[in-house]
């Protein structure tokens, strides 16, 4: 029993390290996704064209930009698997799918977290957001908990859509309704952290509770459901 757990943990770590090494070697996140997310933030500023409104909706824009970028990162995460049949090879080798899920989800979370930090910094610089120390701590907690949920559900549906024809359109159709609770919860929590629209820091914690429920549920369910969803 413990042997099996150690086995799975070793595989999960190997998969996560492998995905992050791929990102390190190819720099897709840094060279393409991050600039895309940043330009989305700039375009929001053009479209809304009002400092007061921007300040009030900044949290929502941060999370919308995160979701759009996430679609790209998830696609990328499974393109590297299918480009030369690597996921097939893992399956043939009988590698535990739950462990692969955990590994890929963790790698996705790390990448999303970096991206979100950059987006929050962009909001601070471009939209003139000001945070207290308590607000800053709350923002960090929100990022961590929301990212765990997003990484889990993104990997789950990314794997399902990966083998399919028309995956570019199927992934948003499945993923965006599922992450609605994260968009709502993370936006409200971030509003509290930013103090947008007169929100106070203490108003954010119930929303972080919602994000936590989402994160726990989907990371647990994903470990079980990933294999059956991805297996041919």
């Amino acid at each position: 029993m413990t042997g099996a757990v150690i086995n799975k943990r070793r595989i999960a770590i190997a998969v996560a390290r492998k995905d992050l090494t791929i990102e390190w070697n190819s720099r897709i996140l840094v060279n393409q996704v991050a600039p895309f997310a940043a330009i989305v933030m700039v375009l929001f500023a053009f479209a809304l064209d009002n400092d007061g409104i921007l300040l009030r909706v900044a949290p929502g824009l941060v999370w919308l930009a995160t979701l759009f970028s996430m679609l790209v990162v998830v696609q990328r995460s499974f393109t590297v698997e299918s480009a030369d049949g690597a996921l097939d090879a893992l399956r043939v080798a009988g590698v535990d799918m739950g462990a692969i899920f955990v590994g890929k989800a963790v790698a996705l979370m790390v990448q999303l977290f970096v991206l979100e930090l950059m987006l929050v910094a962009t909001a601070v610089v471009l939209y003139g957001v000001e945070m207290t120390l308590a607000g800053f701590c709350e923002a960090i907690v929100t990022l961590v908990v929301a990212t765990i949920g997003l990484g889990s559900v993104g990997t789950l549906y990314g794997g399902l859509a990966a083998g399919a024809r028309g995956r570019e359109t199927l992934l948003p159709l499945l993923l965006l309704p599922a992450v609605a609770p994260v968009l709502i919860g993370a936006t409200r929590a971030t509003e509290a952290a930013f103090g947008s629209g007169g929100a106070t820091v203490s108003e954010g914690w119930p929303w972080i509770g919602l994000l936590l429920v989402f994160a726990v549920l989907f990371s647990a369910v994903g470990t079980v459901a990933f294999g059956p969803l991805v297996d041919e």
Partner: protein, 244 residues
């Protein structure tokens, strides 16, 4: 495999006649015999379609989840469970669409707008999109068993997602004080005949749902049987190829 060419049996024909009778009675009660509402006037009659539709949709998605669970937990994994789940999902999407359309028409007449960001409306819209995604996954191709496993897992995931979406949307809207316009039913004083019509609507739509699911799942069974027969023909052709 069904011996006859259609998807009906004498039982479904009887059920069909009952459904027609119930719907006709509902139309009479809803449009003719029942009284107008003091505030809403004849507008209230939309309720006799709107409420039963969403009720039926919930039953449909419940049945989809139930059959998917049975499919995944069963030892022999009969594809019949998957077909009922799929048929029920399709018809559920249809009924959610009907309830969204009738709801927004009702909203236009009573609130003066087709859409409000009310918790129930918003989460119903998410419900709709979630099951459209479910139907898209059913169309992905592959063998019947691949389809069944994928879509069963997804149906159970949807059951997990929906309460979360509903809860978060409700929590979101509860922060805004305008939420009291949300519930049109609350303003309606139902007299005996109106209540009867509503109840009749629930029964009629549930029967209609049962009738549709029975036919649709038989239709799916014939589709599966047809592609299996196509497979048999192809296997024979391939064997002959080998012999040639």
């Amino acid at each position: 495999m069904a011996g006859q060419s259609g998807t009906g049996t004498s039982a479904t024909r009887r059920l069909g006649i009952l459904v027609i009778f119930l719907l006709a009675t509902l139309a009479l009660c809803g449009l003719w015999f029942s009284a107008e509402d003091v505030v809403q006037g004849s507008t209230v009659r939309i309720m006799y379609v709107h409420v039963p539709s969403i009720w039926t949709a919930y039953i449909a998605f419940g049945l989809t989840a139930l059959c998917s669970g049975v499919y995944l937990s069963g030892k022999n994994r009969s594809l019949a469970w998957d077909r009922v789940a799929g048929a029920s999902g399709e018809i559920g999407v249809l009924f959610v669409a009907v309830s969204l359309v009738t709801g927004s028409m009702w909203g236009r007449l009573t609130w003066g707008t087709y859409w409000v960001w009310d918790a129930r409306l918003t989460s119903t819209a998410f419900l709709f999109i979630t099951y459209v995604g479910y139907l898209a996954v059913r169309q992905l191709g592959g063998t019947h068993r691949q389809r069944a496993r994928r879509s069963s897992v997804l149906a159970l995931l949807a059951i997990l997602e929906i309460p979360l979406v509903h809860f978060s949307v409700t929590l979101w809207r509860s922060l805004h004080q305008e939420a009291t316009v949300a519930n049109p039913n609350a303003k309606v004083e139902l007299d005996g005949l109106m209540l009867f019509s509503l109840f009749l609507g629930l029964v009629a739509f549930t029967m209609l749902f049962a009738w549709l699911v029975l036919h649709r799942q038989r239709g799916m069974m014939l589709e599966d049987a047809f592609s299996d027969r196509g497979l048999d023909v192809a296997i024979t052709a391939r064997r002959n190829e080998a012999g040639a």
